[in-house]
Amino acid sequence: MGTIAWAGRKIGGALVVLWLVATAIFIAIRLIPGDPAEAIMGGPGSQASAEALAAARAEYALDQPVFTQYLLYLGKLVTLDFGTSYSLKEPVTKVMGEVLPNTLWLSLLALALAWLLALCFAAAASNSGRFGSWLGSLLEIIAAAVPHFWLGAVLIMLFSSALGWFPAVDNGSAQGLVLPVLTLALPLAGFLTQLMRDSLSEALGSQFALAARARGESRLTLFWRHGLRHAALPALNLTGWAFSSLLSGAVVVEAIFARPGLGRSLLSAVLARDIPMVTGIALFSALVYIVVMALAEGLERIINPAGEQR
């Protein structure tokens, strides 16, 4: 398949997926009990008058038939207008724009760190004896099994309260990123290591690895030239999933480490029934997932243009 045709298919598919997500969210939100107008007026605890509620309904077109609302909603989405947040009374895009860099940084750093850790662990495991590899696989399984919320708390106890090495909360400095990034990265690193080790040991035990060794390549160059690529493929394949799981993790991590970000916005938006905000974040996450998937696939095409073997 040519690159242009491939890109065209990808974009078409992405639009369909986005439309499905948007529709699913629209339906889901209509199922949420409670009057959206109340949410707009500050929740059921407010003293909003009947007129004010009616005005809010009119303003947000909640008095229109459902199908009209749906079309209006889609029409706005097409122009990238996610509407105005019920609770913050500001455009969703603006609010998201403010917090987005934080989450992206956090997730990207975590992703990078997870990759790095996974590579190191996988490399170490491929070069260690039976006991070492047993210990390594135990460690990686444990890492993958540790819940974010628990890990975050333990890291704060250890490195912030007891040792005082890193700040517990975001203070704008790079040090403030250490613990949250670690919290997000460790479980993911555990997953990636398991993945990479499987394909790495497959690659290093293969005929082409033997051929490379017979050409005079050292274990190290074998790892760099051959092992790495083969280990990276399945992990790349999973990058979209990894990123989306990082966004999930961000909800917890941002809450624990008091970091502004999409995850925290999302949690508070859901709790406040802030429909435009929830919609915006959900669609944005889906978009990010799709873009990351496409990037990963593109990278895969570079590493493995023939698309063989996998």
Partner: protein, 530 residues
């Protein structure tokens, strides 16, 4: 031609976790000469070869291991790295597996240079192109940028040889470098090895097939169970084999062996060949104008052939010539674009599956890789019970006797009933596949490369078994193979396929004796013979 000794090996023993794989082997590789190490799988050939590169992975001991004058018994890994690729290199069996599918072949070839020479990047690229040119790679500069998966079979083999030659080694080890290749590719590789020998390099060639090494090797060493049972100059070993096992190997080579003459010594005594007359009644199988395209690619075009009852039609051709697609159409697994298949005079394809249900029992199939055609959850007995009961049960004890009969028919012990097919050897698996195919008592068996994955000695026993079954039951065979010597031995009639068409067909003797087509002649010329 100098007779300089490059490798001297004395009393090599290799064991893995205490289990010996190679016992007290001695051999010498000299410049400008080819030493062939012959034996079946598991005989320790490859382990021996890898020990010469320090890559056996087991516990190695030898009273002498001298590589180009250097004692290599206690080398460190980094010392070995200087020798590998530079002094001694290796060509592995499968080019698709032995070249990293994720990297351009040029890089793979250049990697060895990176390790050993101080050449600049441009010089290395230059050298890669030279090496590729030296193995007659067409358009080397373009090919260097492609990955092995993008190359044709021939180019891939050339790239594989080139990567072993980049460091200009004095010794090249070819580990089963021709196994499972079709005759043309085999010829190509053999020619390359011959060129190496003529360049004055030492070649250690490893194979299970005496026929393939016969014309190239200067000396032959026959290995069995980790030991060299016989060695000497090629002519002596081939013409005056001293060891029983060597004779067995020689006999197993099917080329030139008359129809129904046994290839293996261990075969059970067979009934005397009945009068084989031109059969009467309808044709067992008849294909008329079969065509099949996949998109723009024409796989099979206007293929027609007839298979009389009780006879064998050999379908021969290189890989990609359309043999397997033809077989699938015959079996009713693929609907032909046009054309028909008749079985015992009745329409078999194209038809809807339920319409040919009655005919199904008359058609059986055997594949190259039997394991892939067995349900991995079934034991040997269950597989046969399943086949006998038409899929209704895998445990029905009432079939027990028939299961035993089938096992006996293919010379498998009934003790294997409860085993998983994965625990069987390659030959046993193929026997099991044959037993299963025989369960419904078919009139026609389609055998698609049934022995290509087997060592010559095992191949011999399986071919003998097929012969015997045909003699006993009168089953007709559509025998598909790329191996001309097998086809010659097994077939009454031969059809030669090339690029989707049958270019020539007729009685075996006439095709092999007086081929009409250039292509057929080319194939025959490339056919290894003793």
């Amino acid at each position: 031609m100098s007779e300089q000794t490059l490798i001297t090996l004395k009393d090599l023993s290799v064991s893995f976790d205490g289990a010996p794989a190679v016992k007290n082997i001695s051999l010498t590789v000299s410049a400008g000469r080819v030493l062939a190490l012959v034996g079946e799988s598991g005989s320790g050939k490859s382990v021996t070869a890898r020990s010469l590169l320090g890559l056996s992975g087991g516990q190695v001991s030898a009273s002498e291991l001298t590589i180009c004058g250097r004692d290599a018994r206690n080398l460190t890994d980094s010392d070995w790295q200087k020798i590998r690729g530079n002094t001694i290199s290796m060509i592995l069996q499968d080019a698709l597996m032995a070249l990293d599918p994720l990297r351009p072949v040029g890089r793979e070839i250049g990697d060895g240079l990176k390790e050993h020479s101080s050449l600049s990047k441009a010089q290395r690229v230059q050298r890669v192109h030279e090496v590729l040119a030296s193995v007659n790679m067409p358009d080397p500069e373009l090919r260097a940028k492609q990955r092995s998966t993008e190359l044709s079979g021939g180019m891939r083999q050339r790239a594989l040889i080139a990567q072993a030659l980049a460091g200009n080694p004095q010794v090249v080890i070819a580990d089963e470098a021709t196994t499972a290749l079709d005759s043309q590719l085999t010829a190509l590789v053999l020619a390359q090895l011959r060129a190496l020998k003529e360049q004055g390099r030492g070649v250690l060639m490893i194979s299970h097939d005496l026929a393939q090494v016969a014309h190239l090797a200067d000396e032959i060493a026959v290995m069995r169970h980790g030991e060299i049972v016989e060695s000497g100059p090629t002519a002596q070993v081939l013409n005056h084999p001293e060891h029983e096992y060597t004779r067995q190997l020689l006999q197993a080579v099917p080329s030139g062996v008359p129809r129904f003459a046994p290839l293996s010594i261990i075969s059970a005594p067979r009934p005397s060949a009945p009068e084989r007359q031109t059969p009467t009644g309808p044709l067992a199988l008849s294909a008329t104008n079969l065509s099949k395209s996949f998109g723009k690619h024409v796989a099979v075009e206007q293929v027609s052939f007839d298979l009389p009852q009780g006879k064998t039609l050999g379908l021969v051709g290189e890989s990609g010539s359309g043999k397997t697609t033809t077989a699938r159409m015959v079996l009713g697994l693929q609907k032909p674009d046009s054309g028909t298949v008749n079985l015992l005079g009745e329409r078999f394809a194209p038809l809807h599956e339920p319409q040919r249900k009655q005919l199904r029992e008359h058609m059986g199939a055997i594949y190259q890789n039997p394991l892939g055609s067995f349900d991995p959850r079934y034991s040997v007995g269950q597989l046969l019970t399943d086949a006998l009961s038409g899929g209704k049960s895998k445990r029905d004890q009432s079939y027990s006797q028939q299961v035993d009969q089938l096992l006996e028919q293919v010379q498998l012990s009934s003790k294997l009933r409860s085993r998983s097919p994965r625990e069987l050897s390659g030959g046993q698996r193929q026997r099991l596949a044959i037993a299963r195919a025989l369960a419904p008592k078919p009139s026609v068996l389609v055998l698609d490369e049934p022995v290509s994955a087997l060592d010559v000695s095992i191949q011999a026993t399986v071919l003998d078994l097929l012969d015997q079954i045909q003699l006993e039951t009168g089953t007709s065979y559509l025998f598909i193979s790329h191996d001309l010597s097998v086809i010659e031995h097994m077939s009454d009639y031969v059809a030669v396929m090339h690029q989707g068409k049958i270019i020539e067909q007729g009685a075996t003797a006439s095709i092999f004796g007086s081929p009409q087509e250039d292509y057929t002649r080319k194939l025959l010329a490339a056919m290894p013979r003793l």
